[in-house]
Symmetry: C2
Subunit: 432 residues, 2 copies
């Protein structure tokens, strides 16, 4: 019986170097644990001269990715170049050759998952992607296998380390978004073009993967409602904190009203919740199933070694399927009963935090509460701050309300002369 | 190809009823997700008349467990009677018949794991036990598969919901151990005979399973150092809290000095740590690997439905192996390189919390610090409490010290006339 599996890696960047390092360092241990030793067969990259800090055996490096895929001595193909261009071509080519694929490419799966999964089905090949969500946290395996007996009621995730790092530093240091972003960029925690992270796109890629696994329909990006963290102000972090909440960029996925909510939003969560204590670059996924109840998975959501840990776990999984001839024993994605209808954002019901900057004059509160009342929005609490300025902040928490009603009410409030800034609004997740 | 798997359950108690309920409720969904529908074939119990709140199809209930095992139409045997007597016989009989087994029986595995695993190996059958540790949390799958590429540096777990519930209530309500235990017994959160929980035995059963998976040697119970929570006082909870710590019953498993530490102890952990926020009946396992870094797994550690969720996940796993002929694709336990030497408790080095009750007289501090100094124990902080009594509490936190040195020092302190109570001592885990 097969005792070794030969691994070909396309993309010798940070994560590629981490995977090479892990296989060289722990390959023997993995072999003893599983009965199947992963061997580094080929590593393809356009740049095969820069030092990545790992000692690749001679003859392994190549510039020829297609040659790697077609090399009959390569059993498993690992795609780590990212993006939605050649990465897709390489994956489809490997699957067409009947080879199992491991990828960390969340954007590609979010946007072209159906094409890739149907190619895998045609070829009876595995395509695994644990590293695409939550870095080193085995959360996809947990969802797909560990919670297989559960109807998933909701998933709430902190899925982007850069955003969580920025929000954590804003809260701890009282520094504003732009200053912390600049510091994060200088320290290498944020990209020069931070939009993918801070505008919520990366979180949305991961959210749609989790939602699809939970609800049996590959949703893609279209149905997601996405907001980033650029509009999170220090003021709102401070007031949320006084009310016992913390602002996090969340992926919120829920079954409600015969459909599924899928949204990425900066959101207030209770400071006392476990998710509320997930700080810095860490990620966490909280999943509530009908059988297991709430479970949570926590760890490093990115980085060379954490991501490599997930990639290597996938390499082992698909390799064991090669050894046992059990390809697609647990399929990459399998449509199943669940929800194919996405609840439009305007129909979502949740609780809201609203901050108004109003002139300190009698009657403003009556106007505001009148508007909320006419839209059927019930107030849970109001705090008017005492400040020595002509305008004062007024913070309102609502009971459950419909998004469309809130949006209309905010528009009306924006037209009141005594309200001198556009209202700030965030959703609340009580995680109960 | 096989599209259904027929499940036989031995033990129709709380968890058995939960598994029956889950299979009846979600069997079709599981079938769509996995391509293999689990069908309830037989349920064996001595009591087949009491109402368990689930509608078992007619003809399924039987009093004949051996008949269930030998029934050729039963593909998978689930053992949920617990204990180390007939449960073991039933499991060995099922394995001898070549049938895969799913069990939640932590005591049996902790004490007789090697016998069971070698029987499974002889028969080429699977024996899975996700529900034995951490209830509904898929932590064994995470350790064995998700972190397969990692050398495990340490595992720190809150593994007993009863103890965590008692300690959480003591801290929140200022009620003492006996009072909270009585309340927990009345509410059904603690057994009439609470020893298995509060003396740390149940945590130790789970700790030895996790340690064995991490370090490649089935350790059994013998090498474990076990202390329970009966000696945790409100006073120590209070002083720990003032110093930024919380007392939890922990399983601590670490590789250190070429061996592995395995201990179950009430321990101070930082309030600011994520593990420190795991309250009530919840469990959590924090695992640090050389590749993934720290990851944590959280959820309900016990209860009908949470445990059923883990049992059903195992049923699916072993059933897919039946379908694909991939028995033992991931073996229940496989010895591998790691550590077979257990560090004796006397050689463990960690930080310590020591509380002395001393007469309020000059010179006592000098005596105490002299003793610590002579044993090479370095003091990190000392707090002497001001109380209006002849004796005053003195709380000392040490730097890293050797257990044997601490034990000798405590004995010497106990002989000082001015120290009027036996010293209280707890270890500290800083989780860094």
């Amino acid at each position: 019986m097969m005792t070794e599996v030969r691994v070909g890696i396309i993309g010798f960047g940070t994560v590629g170097a981490g995977v090479v390092d892990c296989l060289l360092r722990n390959g023997d241990l993995i072999g003893e644990r599983t009965g199947l030793r992963p061997v580094l067969a080929r590593v393809a990259d356009l740049d095969i001269t820069s030092d990545r800090g790992v000692a690749v055996p001679s003859g392994v490096l190549t510039q020829d990715a297609v040659g790697l895929i077609e090399d009959p001595s390569v059993d498993v193909v690992v795609e780590l170049i990212g993006g939605t261009g050649v990465a897709k071509d390489f994956i489809l080519r490997a699957l067409a050759a009947g080879k199992p694929v491991v990828t960390a490419n969340k954007a590609l799966l979010a946007m072209h998952g159906e094409e890739i999964f149907s190619a895998a089905e045609r070829s009876s090949a595995d395509v695994y992607y644990e590293a695409s969500v939550g870095g080193g946290i085995p959360c996809i395996k947990a969802m797909r296998e560990g919670l297989v007996g559960n109807r998933i009621r909701e998933i709430v995730g902190i899925l982007n380390g850069t955003c969580n790092y920025i929000l954590t530093r804003m809260e701890r240091e009282g520094a504003d978004f732009e200053a912390v972003l600049a510091a994060a960029q200088a320290a290498g925690y944020a990209e020069a073009d931070p939009g993918l992270d801070v505008d919520g796109i990366d979180t949305a890629h991961k959210a749609t993967i989790l939602a699809s696994l939970a609800y049996g329909e590959w949703f893609g990006m279209e149905p997601l409602h996405i907001e980033g963290i650029r509009r999170v102000s220090l003021q709102d972090i401070h007031y949320a904190s006084e009310l016992g909440y913390r602002i996090k960029l969340l992926a919120v996925i829920k079954e409600r009203d015969g459909g599924v909510q899928m949204r990425v939003q900066p959101t207030l969560i209770p400071m006392s919740s476990l998710l509320g204590h997930v700080g810095g670059v860490f990620n966490a996924v909280w999943v509530r199933g009908d059988t297991a109840g709430g479970t949570m998975y926590y760890g490093r959501g990115a980085g060379r070694d954490a991501t490599a840990s997930a990639v290597v776990a996938d390499i082992v999984d698909v390799s064991l399927n090669l050894k046992f001839g059990s390809h697609r024993r647990v399929a990459a994605f399998r449509p199943h009963q669940g929800y194919d209808r996405v609840v439009p954002m305007s129909d979502v019901r949740t609780r809201y935090y609203i901050r108004l900057q109003a002139l300190d004059q009698p009657g403003v509160m009556a106007l505001v509460s009148g508007i909320l009342g006419r839209h059927g929005i019930s107030i849970a609490s109001v705090t008017q701050k005492e400040v020595n300025q002509p305008s004062v902040p007024m913070v309102i928490l609502t009971h459950q309300a419909r998004e469309a009603a809130i949006q209309s009410a905010l528009q009306e409030m924006g037209r009141i002369d005594e309200i001198v800034e556009p209202p700030a609004m965030f959703r609340i997740e009580d995680l109960d």
